[in-house]
Symmetry: D2
Amino acid sequence: MITAGIVGATGYTGVELLRLLAGHRQVEVSLVTSRELAGTAVASHFPNLRGRFDLDFSEPDAAAFGECDVVFYATPHGVAMQSAAAVLAAGAKVIDLSADFRIRDIGCWERWYGVKHQSPELVAEAVYGLPEVHRESLRQASLVAVPGCYPTAIQLALLPLLEKDLVDASRLIADAKSGVSGAGRKAATPYLLCEASESISAYGLAGHRHHPEIIQGLEQASGGCAVGLTFVPHLAPMIRGILATCYAPAREPDACGGELLQQVFEERYRDEPFVQVLPRGELPATREVRGSNVCELAVSWLEAQSMAVVLAAEDNLVKGAAGQAIQCMNIMFGWNESEGLAGIGLLP
Amino acid sequence: MITAGIVGATGYTGVELLRLLAGHRQVEVSLVTSRELAGTAVASHFPNLRGRFDLDFSEPDAAAFGECDVVFYATPHGVAMQSAAAVLAAGAKVIDLSADFRIRDIGCWERWYGVKHQSPELVAEAVYGLPEVHRESLRQASLVAVPGCYPTAIQLALLPLLEKDLVDASRLIADAKSGVSGAGRKAATPYLLCEASESISAYGLAGHRHHPEIIQGLEQASGGCAVGLTFVPHLAPMIRGILATCYAPAREPDACGGELLQQVFEERYRDEPFVQVLPRGELPATREVRGSNVCELAVSWLEAQSMAVVLAAEDNLVKGAAGQAIQCMNIMFGWNESEGLAGIGLLP
Amino acid sequence: MITAGIVGATGYTGVELLRLLAGHRQVEVSLVTSRELAGTAVASHFPNLRGRFDLDFSEPDAAAFGECDVVFYATPHGVAMQSAAAVLAAGAKVIDLSADFRIRDIGCWERWYGVKHQSPELVAEAVYGLPEVHRESLRQASLVAVPGCYPTAIQLALLPLLEKDLVDASRLIADAKSGVSGAGRKAATPYLLCEASESISAYGLAGHRHHPEIIQGLEQASGGCAVGLTFVPHLAPMIRGILATCYAPAREPDACGGELLQQVFEERYRDEPFVQVLPRGELPATREVRGSNVCELAVSWLEAQSMAVVLAAEDNLVKGAAGQAIQCMNIMFGWNESEGLAGIGLLP
Amino acid sequence: MITAGIVGATGYTGVELLRLLAGHRQVEVSLVTSRELAGTAVASHFPNLRGRFDLDFSEPDAAAFGECDVVFYATPHGVAMQSAAAVLAAGAKVIDLSADFRIRDIGCWERWYGVKHQSPELVAEAVYGLPEVHRESLRQASLVAVPGCYPTAIQLALLPLLEKDLVDASRLIADAKSGVSGAGRKAATPYLLCEASESISAYGLAGHRHHPEIIQGLEQASGGCAVGLTFVPHLAPMIRGILATCYAPAREPDACGGELLQQVFEERYRDEPFVQVLPRGELPATREVRGSNVCELAVSWLEAQSMAVVLAAEDNLVKGAAGQAIQCMNIMFGWNESEGLAGIGLLP
């Protein structure tokens, strides 16, 4: 049994971490911080935890975190980079769900996030928390940068094609649809029920912060070749879920085909506990993974257009955030990778 | 470890049973029947179970059920009463989620359900599966009639008031709002997204089958006094959840009051693992119990109207069906009552 | 052709006024004010008006309003009471959609709204804008207080019973369910899609500002007898619509009955252009009146409980706000009462 | 004033036609047919029409249609091709909202729809009802084939680029998201609220009937050049609306650019009453056109990917069906093209 602390658990990622950790047999949450809610009961803020979680929010305090075995940051960008070094020095492992340590190119990170990075030296040390790619490095990691929700879905969808060099990496398209919880719990007009329900819209055409993170992962999978990706995120009228529809033109149409693609995906993810490659002809839906850590994948071959279309469905708060963070922790501590993540999705 | 069979697990109650039983450490589901889906994989029908559940649906077969330790009926009314006797005789315990054994007055049952009862002798033997009232009898039960979703919420809301004789039992009102999953998974126009979303409506003004079941429970709580209840169910535009708003005029206004009511509720449910009496002034919402077996209760005293208003929120598929069935099973087999039911609700 | 001004048209009531007035053949909107949006195009704020509405928001300015023939206040409470007198003095008629002039008892109003009333003398002059009760007075009115959304539905539901003295006025219950647009367009956490969708909850148990307004109307209908009303509002997971389920015990059960009630309602509203009494046995749904000025009513008689149950469904932004305001204007100016309100509701 | 008949007005397209025609000053609906509902009141089937529409459904009868000036078919494919010739011969104009006369290549049509075409000679005579392309032909047309909902959005999005030869027509992608009403009103499990809400999914990867129809239109715009289009439709959890996200790689990146694209779109649609090209940087949302005949378009230039991204938002039941049919009728009869279509969309 280890102890865990959570920094900034007042948003949807935070409550999802608490929900999942409550069912984890190796972890006890000993510390949950929030500047604004310090002194109030966590369960009064998140009523689903009522009667299940006795802690109060406390003030962030590096010393206290040092007594934890692992500390999760469920904060906006810019927080973890300020205190992670102290927490690591005090002996805790750090799992950051924010963007602070995801992008290895510091200049690129600073351009997209608009602030100076406070811990560039930690970026090199951080392991990118996508177990399907970095499992071995995660076993030794002290600092993990958990991928964003869009990057998880899109990388899992496109990696097998790039690793096998089956598609033209310069002409990829990812059309992604996200539930509203991806925007967090902040009170902003566009996310009101009256604005966001019964409607669908695109955003981020001028550029989205997840774009360089996705490119970084895809280029690594391509063996360093430049990747061209058009990424358009959409806001869908639902609470949870991401569906990424990815379009990849075949490099050599005659050498491609539906059977081959299916086989490539099944082999790539055969041993992955949380990636399900659907049988040929079946297509994913976000409702099938609501509340679970599963990412569903389906690959289709459109002969007439020489196009591979890959669909990826995940719960943005689980495999796209809190669940993946716990999966990383399980690997870091040498536990069964599914510990705490065996819950079946809620359907309907 | 015991083995469980499920009859008719093709609807929402069935898949919820499978979801919850998958996390139960004492039970292995060994048999799932469906006439129409026999031979196909359960997981192909319910994609959230993919990779988690290897069974195929099989034809209903009393002999096979006899080899189970417990058999759940997740069927429409009229099925369990035909085969439960054989299953019981073969040595299995029976937990019926349908209406067949809920109402002790056979004539009343036959009027409401429009068919002749096939096993009236079993009705007397069946224990009504509301643990908050019948826990002791459940310990010895072989046949349990799990309450309907509305009756669970409304009885839990009104029982403390009637047991303490605080309200005028002849003038009770229950205005209940249910998510659409309460109507089951049948393809019927009124439950299409385009018909049921973005709208709220009442139904059943001419009479609802849950009415006599509720009355039976409330009259027992009143020590046999006649109960007058106006019950109006509503269809709310959401998947899961029931909120029952119950109105009960005080018998003696001067002897009543908010503090007293709060105390009565807290005492009545102090030791109940799945009933949460909210602190005074807080009100429940169905989102707080989505996917969990909890029933939230809040009691308010309206001084000017001498009226107690009790709000009850539950997940109609969990505490209102599958979760309560498992809670009953845990009691029948002498296990921890929370086994398999410790999952925290999904929020948001 | 007259000119109209709208004060504070930045919320949902404001855009609904603009939508409806755009189709009104006697009115041109010449002035729309908003302190915070002054100088920006109305259509850039409300994209459904793009290409249909050329005005910019301007600063509130009493002189400019004086040049209008009619001025609508679509403001929070406390605004109209400050400037309505000046606007009236300048010669415009005033239609106030806020609460400022609805309650005749100034002390009562000040207790509920927590501020001192700035124009108590105007309250006496104001006509309550429920055409089904005050049509004659509206013809001469200069200042109209348009009812709130709950009061409209609940009064239309209960008036016939009280006017005919059929029910026990001391024991009325109104259980009302409202879409989220009733809370306005302010960015507040409880109204985020992730908080308000897929859930239903009650609020206002400690008292709701619409309660005294409803009582005032019902007592007038009862000929001045005291009315006892338990009113519990609920937040339903949808954008528009109110459904009020009203419970009224018969004064003399033997003298009541379903046929009588149906006849009373049909007679009461026979000539009303915007009240539809449904045929016996049919029940309303809010989707049937989405976007239209209709209020649907259905009355049921529950013999066993000696209870009349009346259901009222309306669009809270139309018959519950902007549509009713225009209906009042039509009466004040002597036009066809349906002018601008003939649009059929959007279904599905 | 002319008279109109509607064949098969029992679905969502039918009721939308009735809603819009009720506000049309030149048309009286004199005949509404439905085999299964013959003899019942139209308003009892569609409660939003209650009190506004006095007709009963009648049996389909070619003679009766002959007395109409115009007949709308709101039927599944395969119906209009059987009786349209007789209706035309009797002197009525025919506006077919089904697929029967949309595709000029009979063989292609028969492959996709799986039946033999009964009136191939009428296909040549039919005018494709996209006013933005075929306005002149529509003025003389007796038989109009109204485009499907996806084809309308996607063609309006891509036409300007193809007409100006700005993009590589062989590598187009249309990722389209539709509300559930696009599936019609049939009672089928996938469209239940409990299945379709809170989820998004793709379908039709193996081919969709709208694909050849879109190709036909795009190839005409390209001056007959072959068009390669990957089209993936999605089911979004909402009632109404289509958002098409279209990706078109520039033919000569250096000759393209955001300003140029904006100008091309603004010029192309300058005089169109129902196409709104949004200001640069603004993006459409389906909620902005709910209930209105407007199609919103926004074009973005992604410099790094040399990619034009065009977003089109429409109400699938209005500009994607009934509204466009009425727009065609207005042109055929020489009326103001906006007659009956001036209603502003419902927001929120």
